[in-house]
Amino acid sequence: MEKNLLKKSPIFKKYQTVISQINNLEETFQMLSDNDLRTQTSKLKKRYQESKNLNSVIAESFALTREASVRTLGLRHFDVQLIGGLVLNDQKIAEMKTGEGKTLVATLSASLNALTEKGVHIITVNDYLASRDQASMGQIYKFLGFQTGLIQDDMSKSERKQNYNSDITYVTNYAVTFDFLYDNMALNSSDVVLRPFNYCIIDEVDSVLIDEAQTPLIISNSIETPVDKYIIAAEITNYLNSGVHFTVDEKNKNIVLTEKGSKQIEDILQVQDLYDPRQPWIPYVINAIKANTLFLNNVHYIIQNERIIIVDEFTGRIMPDRRWGDGLHQAIEAKEKLPIRQKSETAAAITYQNFFLLYPKLSGMTGTGKTAEIEFEKIYKLSVDEIPTARPPLRNDLTDLVYKDQFSKWNAIATTCNQISSTGQPVLIGTTTVEKSEMLAELLNEYQLSYQLLNAKPENVRRESEIVAQAGKQSAITIATNMAGRGTDIILGGNTSFTVQRELYDILTFSRNYILAKKITIFESSLKARFYCNSQKFLSVLCSVLNDSNFLKLSDVEILRTLRENDKISIPNYSYQCSIKCLINELQDYYKKHQQQENKIVKNLGGLYIIGTERNDSRRVDNQLRGRCGRQGDPGTSQFFLSLDDTLLRLFGGPKIQTFLQAQMTDDAPLESKMLTKSLNLAQQRVEERAYQQRKNLFDYDEILNKQRQIIYTDRKGILANQALEKIMLVLGEQILTDIVVDLNKEKLSYNEMITLFENLSGKNLILNNKDLEGLKRYLITEFWLIYQARKSEFDIYGLSIGQKFEQGIILLNIDQIWQEHLQKITLLRDAVSWRGYGQQNPLYEYKREAFGMFSEQVKVLRHLIIYDFLRSYIL
């Protein structure tokens, strides 16, 4: 079966030779001992050094990794997984369906590229997945002799540096981007944590590069803020009424002042013009009104420790590190009569789009990528290759059912749930928002069905992985919002490890409490009955654990952690850890049979039944939901329930569909039609296109800033590494002087002005005879050289190479400041340029033009600042 499916696909033909090579090498490697395998790695490294071409060592490296995986994890790479690894190595996106073992595939390409010793980054979506993957796959790398690193949120700089220096590093996307930005604000080369970029494999590449692409990552600096204006503005809002003085636009979160409102405010403040640049009041007033009407306590934020903390509307989680920008945060603080903290200004920013393009070699994997292929091509130059599944897919995608309205739709969903779970088949329902999931939960309550609710609310997050893992159990009903539970497989029949952990946790805590309380062994109690089903071995090990004093000291949470991290611990510190491992294995064996039975039953019932409640904004997300069932050749069904007044259809379906279908449907029965599905797909495509356009627009604008950023950051890196500082300073000085002379020539500067400029810059008085321009230039430059050398030696009196350090510091600080100012100006330019369209001028072209002008100006100012700072400072 596997071979047939494989041979037909075009991808296989492309990689046929390599695959057969790898398969041939398998036997050779099987016969080698562990140590021999390890030396293979160094041999391959040497070969790579000689040929400088990775292609020459692909087959050996992959075969080596495969063998290592067999010996450490017991998992042998399928041929399709080999193809996936080859695709990843070719700088493409590998589309592999859920459950195909993407994490394992990454190991192939990662260990191949690690041979270059330049470092490989594997990007995951969150910290938990990063640590999980590093723990499991790290064993393969360790076996092969590679160093692995892991970056977590709470690591210090030196830890991060160490981890980034390893051959293969697992890191989240935001962590690596922020580290990059911080590196470019560092003042010491010891603070730099990242190595030069080499190769990057992005897991869930569609989520990182498309869904999150628009979010810019920003590091801000706080700046001085005058607080009285905020307080006064907050007072004024007491005298303003909604509707009379201003109108509220809830959708866009906007406030518009009416004529009356502006007049009223002007009267109160006794000013003529709210928009006066000398005394601007309008931003403060608008922010104050916004704070009053659109942002409410305990809905959008909470007050904790005299601070305002933002609450994410969608997930309900608090975000202590984020602040609203543009003065809004300060306005809310003023409203709540809390101390007003400093405003922040962007010091460094980058988007994911531009960050990942910095890697010379980029690849990614996802379960759903083909539909967004155009975007990947256009923006990232990554093509998408579909990798065939190891076993033929048995998923059954039913046509969508369309209901007349929401009411009939949800009823139908509930009845179907009832029907299906009564047969024993597990059901997974995916909703789009948290409210809808809770509403469905209520509905199912009425039907008296038991279910598990999984959404991003903090109460439910903790048990996220567990709920998702158990969603495959018989008669299980799980309600989940789309984003929840990514990365965890749903195994039909339930996941034993979770059951085992839970069971063991109960036993251990219970027994420990009992012993601590009663101080007798458990067997000599009435609780004997509880352990009747466990084997003798289990009981004896349990006894030994309970006698261990170290164990008895543990708290509940620590027991839980020990259980969770069980497989990560290779060298146990305490004896009870070994025993616990033993207990877990015992229980797992016991449950394994049970689980295999359940697995068969659920498979016979038809596998997991997925119900979608609404078409999402993109087909990708729909496919992700569908992909949760039918993994690795399991059977499964997916069906979407839609209604005519779904948001998507309402906004983008077009009026014709509405009227046509309203006429057709008179009762609650669903409409199953291919034509309908086609128009739904069309509507969805339109939404996708609109979103793509927005992203492309953002990318086009950001590209210019990106080029400027690259110039600045490259220069900065060079200076941080202490390269040729003196030469740079001299060049800067000469450039300034040349500019001055040119201006003099063009008569933009008078002679006297030029003298004043030079004297200001250098602090020395000039004595000039009337020289011609060339002679003047030479004279000025020579003067500058002399002054510079003089200052340098002055600094050096105080200590060895203090002058150099000082130079470096000045340049870096000035660069940072200028860049920060530049970012502000560019943001304003973005806004300003959008009005040019009314004059039939192309905004993007105007932006490019003015951005370049601004940048050249800033660079000029930077030069002046650096030279001035250096020539005019004195050590006190």
């Binding site: 609109r690 806004d831 009005w835 040019r836 001028q841 370049f852």
Partner: protein, 426 residues
């Protein structure tokens, strides 16, 4: 450093330039490839005999072509179709909405509509040609006529496709470039005609008239560039801008709203000329004989004056009409308010609307007057100095010439700008 830079430019610009020139050459040769089935000798005879046909054909093909070539219809069906679609947009709110949204779907629908209408127009025009050739050719039958229609229509659609290739992969806007080529290729003929017809009068006059022509031509060009590119900048202040900490940042003058003098482009001129051409056309066709008597007064200054006044008024009317569609003061003011931006020195709300209305009226009037005067100049020269043949140099052509060159310059600048950061790398 410099050479590396210009090298990169060559890599980007050269292929585009070559492609554009290549396609233009292709189309130019195509206009001379005769449509099979039309005997050129017959055609020539007929054209020499009937001045009406001569005039009409010269309107069509841009130069008095004696060959009905494959690409005779050239880009004109497309141009007519675009004008027609613009009119439709002005009158249909649904289409206006599509165009305003500016997303892929809207643009695609509108361009599809334009292309379909192009097809119809080209069929109609080729049918017209076929019918006109009826008295010209010896063997004329339905079969020949439909063949001609087929050839000409396919020719027109091929030109449309080629012009789109130029727009996408070459330099400049394909259709404008083609019109430009048409006009420019007419120039040698025109100057020849000019010299020939006017050398009969005194040589001295002809010399001065050339000078005057040149001066007026340059002045017109200057006027056209001013009209096309000139903008009135209305300074804007945004709330965000005011949020900056330093006064210097708050007071920056980079935020402005540019308003063009000539919002409507060549539309008013085209419409006016179409209006005013009607009586002349009717006279030519000889339908209304009583108009002939009026026409005999053509040299009468009085009639000329009426003509010019009519011209001015019509251009003014059309310009204001167009600018009111393109720039709606109320809309603009609402948009400004939504984004918390206001015009410097004007209170947001009703005052802004009034201010905008006043400003827009002012510049439209100015632009219209300028446009009208530029258009009148050739006619003026003709009648005062008794030169003939200046009809080919209508202001529309000038506008298009100027517009195309300016657009090209902007596009080359755009390409330069995208690449300009390279030489800042060390």
């Amino acid at each position: 450093m410099k050479s590396k830079n210009s090298n990169k430019l060559k890599d980007i610009l050269l292929p585009r330039i070559l492609l554009t020139i290549g396609i233009l050459l292709l189309i130019r040769t195509g206009t001379f490839l005769p449509v099979p089935g039309i005997d050129p000798i017959d055609l020539d005879c007929y054209i020499q005999r009937t001045p009406v046909a001569k005039n009409l054909i010269s309107t069509f093909a841009g130069d008095s072509a004696f060959v009905i070539g494959l690409f005779t219809l050239n880009i004109f069906p497309f141009v007519n179709a675009t004008i027609f679609v613009q009119l439709l947009i002005a009158f249909s709110p649904r289409l206006a909405q599509l165009q305003k949204e500016g997303d892929f779907e809207g643009k695609r629908t509108i361009s599809r509509l334009t292309r379909n209408i192009t097809l119809f127009v080209s069929i109609a025009q080729s049918v017209g040609v076929a019918l006109y050739l009826r008295p010209a050719l010896f063997e004329w039958n339905i079969l020949l006529a439909s063949e001609i229609v087929l050839w000409l229509t396919s020719g027109a659609m091929i030109v449309l496709w080629l012009s789109e290739i130029i727009t996408d992969y070459g330099l400049g806007n394909g259709s404008s470039l083609l019109i430009y080529i048409n006009i420019v290729s007419n120039l040698p003929n025109l100057s020849k005609k000019l010299l020939l017809e006017n050398s009969e009068t005194s040589v001295f006059l002809s010399f001065t008239s050339i000078i005057i022509l040149l001066v007026l031509g340059l002045a017109s060009f200057y006027g056209i560039v001013f009209l096309q590119n000139g903008t009135l900048r209305i300074p804007l202040i945004s709330a965000r801008q005011l949020n900056q900490s330093s006064f210097q940042d708050r007071n920056r003058k980079a935020n402005y709203l540019p308003l063009r003098f000539n919002q409507a482009g060549v539309m008013p001129v085209i419409l006016t000329t179409s209006f005013l051409v009607v009586p002349r056309y009717l006279i030519n066709l000889g339908i209304f004989p009583w108009l002939e008597s009026l026409a005999s007064f053509k040299s009468n200054l009085f009639v000329q004056l009426i003509y010019w006044i009519g011209y001015f008024v019509l251009i003014l009317a059309f310009s204001s009409f167009y600018s009111s569609i393109v720039l709606n003061p109320k809309d603009l003011s609402d948009q400004l308010q939504k984004q918390a931006v206001k015009i410097a020195g004007v209170r947001p709300g009703v005052s802004t609307v009034l201010y905008l209305k006043r400003e827009i009226q002012r510049i439209t009037r100015f632009g219209a007057i300028l446009l009208a005067s530029l258009t009148i100049i050739p006619n003026f020269i003709e009648s005062t100095y008794h030169l003939t043949g200046l009809n080919g140099l209508s202001t529309t052509s000038f506008l298009i010439l100027g517009g195309v060159i300016l657009d090209l310059k902007r596009e080359v600048n755009d390409i330069l700008l995208s690449d300009i950061y390279r030489d800042l790398y060390q």
